[in-house]
Structures are given as C-alpha cells and as structure tokens.
Symmetry: C2
Subunit: 208 residues, 2 copies
Amino acid sequence: MSHTLGVRQAQKQKTRQALLDAALGLLEEQSLSSLGLREVTRAVGVAPTAFYRHFRSIADLGVELVEEALGSLHPMIESTVSATGDSDERIARAVDLIARHVDAYPAHVRFIARERHGGVQPVREAIRHQLARFSEEVKVALAEHPESAGWSDGDLLMLAGLYVDQMLMTASQFLEAMEGPAEERERVARTATQRLRLVGIGRHHWQD
Amino acid sequence: MSHTLGVRQAQKQKTRQALLDAALGLLEEQSLSSLGLREVTRAVGVAPTAFYRHFRSIADLGVELVEEALGSLHPMIESTVSATGDSDERIARAVDLIARHVDAYPAHVRFIARERHGGVQPVREAIRHQLARFSEEVKVALAEHPESAGWSDGDLLMLAGLYVDQMLMTASQFLEAMEGPAEERERVARTATQRLRLVGIGRHHWQD
DNA sequence: AATTCCAGAGAACAGTTGTTGACTGCATGG
DNA sequence: CCATGCAGTCAACAACTGTTCTCTGGAATT
C-alpha cells in the first residue's frame, strides 16, 4: 500500500521542493511579481530550463506555495476555535499559537501577508480561496459553542471572518516585530489579546 | 503671497505628476518591486533619463505615492470619528464614506493595500508611519467621546488601531468587489457594518 | 542683451530576462 | 538486456533592464 516511490520520482520531488524553498527565501525582500525564474534556478544550482519540468510559470509556483503555507493549517485552526477553557484562556492559547507559528514559519507568513493583495492574480485567488475555507470552518466550529445559540448563519460567518482576518493581522505584526526587541513582541501579543477580548465581549452581548 | 510658479517649474511638476499617475496605473496588475523605471517613462512618453530629474529610484517614487494616497486623508478620518449621531448612523456614514473613496480612488487604495506588506522596505515604512498617525489621531478623537471615560490610553490606542485596520480591510474588500455585481458590494457593506457594530458593542461593555 | 541654469533627449554600456530546441545520461518497465 | 521515458543540460535568441555621460533648447536671472 505505502508505495515507496522510485529513485527517479524521489529526486524530482527533491529539486521541486528545493525550487519552492529557494523561491520562498528570495521572496523575503521582494514580491512574487518581480521574482525571476532564472533567479530561482540559480539559487538552487540548476539550469533555468529545469524549472519548466516542475512549474509552468512563477505564478504557478506561487499557487503551490499558497498550498504549502496554508493547506496544512486547517486542523490547527479548527482545534483552536473548538478548544475548551474559559474565554481568556482560549485567547491566550490562540495568541501564543500564532506567535509560535510565526517563529517556526516566518517566510510562509510573510509570503501570505505579502501576496494576499499582491500583483499576481492566480495567487491572490488561491489565498482568497483558502481564507474563505478557514472562515467557513471557523464558522462551523463557532456554531458548536453554546454561546452561538440564536445566531444567524450570516452573523456567524461575519464573526468567523473577523477572527480569520484578526489572526492574519496578528501574524503579520508578530513578523514585523520579529527582528526587534522582545518587548515589542510582547506589546503585539498584548494588543492582539485585547482585540480578541473586545471582540469576545461584543459577541457576548450581540443579542441584546 | 500666492506665488504663481514660473513656466519652468510648472512644466516640471506636470511631468512629475504624469510619472506618478503612470506608475499608479501600471501598478494595477503588478507590485512596486517589479515596476521598471523605463516602463514608467515609456508610459508617459519621456526619455528614461528624465526619471532621475524627479526621483532617485522607483522606491522613492513609491514613497511619494504613499504621501499622495494617504496624506490628504487625515481630516476626513478625524471628522468621521468625531461625527455626531447615534452609533448606527455613524457606522453607516463611515461605511458609505469608505465605499465612495474606493470608487473615487481605486488605484490609490489598491496601491496601499498591496504595498503595505509589499517587497519595498521604504514604502512599507512610509505606510506604517501614516497608519500609525491615523491610529494616534483616531485615539485622540475617541478620547473625546463620553463613552471613553475610564479608558486607559493603551486600550484606546488598541481600539483606534482596530478601527484603522478595519477601515483598510473594508476598503480592500470593496475594491475586490468593484468589478463584480452590485449585490457583492452590498454584501461587503453589510458585513463591514456588522463588524463595526460588534466592535461597538464590545467597546460599550468593555468596562464590565 | 548676455549669461547661467536645468529638464529632458539621445546613445551607449554591461547585465539581465523568459523561452526555444536539440541534447544526454540514467532509472524504469517490458 | 534492451527500449522507452524523462529530469536536467546547454547554447542561443531577442528583448529588456538601470545607469553613465554628453548634449541642447529655452526659461530664468543678471
């Protein structure tokens, strides 16, 4: 069943991943729309033409990067929203989770923040699609909460979208604060916590 | 007092503005970091070398675009926050104002959304600086509200930042919906309104 | 009226880019 | 063991890039 793929395909996936990694690295100080195909292959140490064996274009590579950056994040998000504990505990855990994720995958986070409104349409589309999925999943998870009794589907989706956007903004702020002093990161964490508290309070009194 | 500047300087400012306008136009389908100096001068119909008479580099031009896009927005924002009327009226007016602004200056809005996290550091910095000014001004305006009695300075700044970020996200969503059907724009307006309502409720019960 | 100044033109530079077609070596499947 | 498939190479292409230096026409200053 577990098909060990041959030496052939293994090597191919290795260069493919090397291309993705190199691209992600180069994107730390430029946007996808200015990333050159030759630039990427040069960084990997491979002929420019080899690029075409893996991707049709840079935009295509970008879409795959979106998958890599966001695809594996769905379970993590869902479990965070569905977590138990009182409101403040859940918020603290969520903020901490975001901080850890930014620390572990700064390049991915930067890529998503940058290309969400970036100059490459298919990539924007891919990100938009993944974020819409997040919102939908968060909405479903929120609907499970007893506190969501009486909420309309539209209002739940509005709240879910707000949480998703908030998550992204917080991640991006952690990223900006990453090279700065530790107190700056602390400030970001505190502000994010307060924002989530305020949203939580609004949610609690929504039905009045 | 009103110094009419000579034919000489008038012509210079004219080409300068033409360069800014052309750049903004070209940026509708790419990012600043991939915008070429020759591309801009070609669009204006001027020699590539003429560019240097006005800007040191594309990044420099980008910083000036930030000024053009956000510099004149301060009074509008402040008056919106300080507006009278009940909560829902103020929210409706704010959302409407954002919608009109996006309609009137779509390219400026796109530029800010795109380059806020874009690949050109000085431009990111300039945007960050202007947005920090917005937050500070909104904070001061919020402090005037009777509802802000008992709020700490930090919490007020947190709320102000939330409003500023929300304004930007709403503007960007209106932009995405611009080419779509009118119902889509209506949906964006409704969601933005609901988000502001929720934040307003959270604000109202903050002190509990 | 004579002089200075300067926005813009023009040509040339060394590099860079994406894409093509034909190739080679080696893992794969018969 | 041989034939096929295919990841990666290589050379060449036309087109493009940012930046330099030199020049010029006409407005601004004296």
